[in-house]
Symmetry: C2
Subunit: 104 residues, 2 copies
C-alpha cells in the first residue's frame, strides 16, 4: 500500500513501531488498523536519497492491508508494450476479507 505520512505520523511510527499515516482528505492522523485491527508492525524503515519518501517493511496483522478486502492494494497489472489503450489484468486479486464487515 501507499499512504501519506506527515511529521507527526512519522514520529509516531518511529516511536511506537506501528504504522501511522496522515489522511489528506480527512485532515487527520490515523493508525493503520485502528478500525480494521489490521495493524502494521514495522520491521524496517528506510528513507530515500532526497528524504521525501519512506519505505517500510511490515508484519501485516490480519488478512490484508487493502481497504478493498485484499492482501495488497497492487492487485492489478498493466500489460506492457502496447501502443493502444490497456485493459488491466487482475493478479493476486482474490479477496481475503469482506471490507464491509471490517470497515463499516
Amino acid at each position: 500500500m501507499v499512504a501519506h505520512m506527515n511529521a507527526e505520523a512519522l514520529e509516531k511510527t518511529i516511536a511506537t513501531g506501528d504504522a501511522w499515516y496522515f489522511s489528506r482528505s480527512r485532515h487527520s492522523l490515523w493508525r493503520k488498523g485502528e478500525s480494521s485491527d489490521h495493524v502494521q508492525r514495522v520491521i524496517e524503515m528506510r528513507v530515500d536519497c532526497d528524504q521525501d519518501a519512506v519505505w517500510i517493511k511490515v508484519e501485516q496483522q490480519g488478512p490484508g492491508a487493502c481497504h478493498t478486502g485484499r492482501r495488497s492494494c497492487f492487485y492489478r497489472a498493466v500489460p506492457l508494450r502496447r501502443a493502444t489503450a490497456v485493459t488491466l489484468e487482475f493478479r493476486d486479486a482474490e479477496k481475503t476479507f469482506d471490507p464491509k464487515a471490517v470497515y463499516e
Copy 2:
C-alpha cells in the same frame, strides 16, 4: 527509487517498456538512463486500488538507479522505537558508481 509519472510518462512506459518519468522541478519528461545509460527495462507494472500509485519491477541496466551513485535510493535506515531524535543508519550504502562521471 521513487519518481513521478504524468500521463505521458505512463503512456510511454507502457508503450516502450522503458521507464519514463516526469520531473516536476524541471517540468520535463525524462527517460531513466538518458544521461546515465542506467535504463530501466520494466518487467512488471501494477497500479494500486485507487489508481494513483504505480509500482514497477525493473531490470536495472548499469550499476545502480540512484543519482548518488548507489544501487538503490533507500540506502539509509531509520532506527525504530526511539522516543527521541533519530540518527540514520547507512545500509547497502556502498557506492557502485561515481555519479560525477555518469551524470552531466
